[in-house]
Symmetry: C2
Subunit: 216 residues, 2 copies
């Protein structure tokens, strides 16, 4: 389909580069913006430009942040001895939403994936090792050594590869506890329909009935 | 869900105002843009701002245009005696894509809809009447009088209301031919599944078999 204006064509082209947005949807969105008050399109445009130009990443955990140290790392009430390693910023938000984790995070920025040309060097793995090493050298009394690393990556080929790579990298820290998320039947799921591997894991890693009570 | 950055929150908020884009999709799109090279987000942002600040509407037909007169109205090869009245810019594109119409357009900018507070005054109906009147006063030899108006609006309550309003407004032009789109069974559709009203119309407005040949 031909568009009557270069400006329109350009805006549709740029929208259509977003994942899951085809040219028809892009046109619909752009025409919608043209029908709204001008501020709507200008605010969307400016928010994207500002985000891209001014976004910062926390120097400690690499989460998106408005300052050099993110609000989680900068919160003295959080337990600095436990680090949850996640793939991306999205996982931080999802885990935060559970309100069940009081430690800090470490955002890898992806998973090891030779197919996509992503090796350990592109990820924040070295900075994780360095972070743990520095925490265990007591510079001041305030410095809290990292005692546990929770590997919270997806159970995919890439997730498993990355887990194993990090696990080996962290072998030098003999006192460090390395844990992973519990796998089991989801809350609310019927046992009958659980897949075999998940059900198997949830039997092997069964918990005390009284514990399942207490955690609610 | 809480976002770790004001900039991120703001961008998600703006994206989520688009129709059919919820907060989850908005977050996915924004995080996608952050993973891409910076130019991607900047270009999208700038194209929206430029579109909104610089977009023009054709002074004759009110289609989106890069100049004061759109490329259709400015094309001397098109038949200026036939005007197709459409609801919006999108319909111009769709009809142009058929390559079956060689006349000009008139974009109303909506349909009469008392429920949404849209009356005839908000639409380009007076400018249509004025356009026809002016074309029929031969100022120069070049001036071509408008002889036919095709009402190509949707068959909804609002479309019918608008059709009827325009029809009455154009009653003053005694020589003007007012037509509407043919309604009938869609090409490729099975007769068995056509709805009664459409099938009824397609029987009443049946065409010569030889004509259906020639138009292919």
């Amino acid at each position: 389909m031909e568009y009557p204006s270069q400006l329109l064509t350009h805006a549709v082209d740029e929208f259509a580069k977003l994942p899951g947005v085809g040219r028809k949807t892009a046109l619909r969105l752009v025409l919608h913006l043209l029908r709204q008050e001008p501020a709507r399109a200008l605010q969307l445009g400016e928010s994207l430009i500002r985000l891209r130009n001014e976004v910062k990443y926390c120097k400690v955990c690499h989460n998106i942040s408005d300052s050099d140290i993110c609000s989680i790392c900068g919160n003295p009430q959080r337990d600095a001895s436990t680090i949850c390693v996640v793939e991306n910023v999205k996982e931080v938000m999802v885990i935060e939403a559970t309100r069940q984790f009081g430690g800090l995070y470490h955002v890898l920025g992806g998973l090891i994936s030779p197919m996509d040309g992503i090796g350990p060097q592109q990820l924040q793995i070295d900075s994780l090792v360095e972070r743990i090493r520095r925490s265990q050298q007591p510079v001041s009394a305030k410095n809290q050594p990292i005692q546990e690393v929770i590997l919270a990556l997806s159970t995919t080929m890439e997730g498993d590869t990355t887990n194993f790579y990090i696990f080996r990298k962290l072998a030098e820290f003999s006192d460090l506890k390395i844990t992973t998320l519990a796998r089991g039947v989801a809350v609310g799921d019927e046992i009958e329909y659980a897949d075999e591997i998940t059900l198997g894991k949830s039997i092997l890693n069964r918990t005390l009935f009284t514990d399942s009570f207490a955690k609610k």
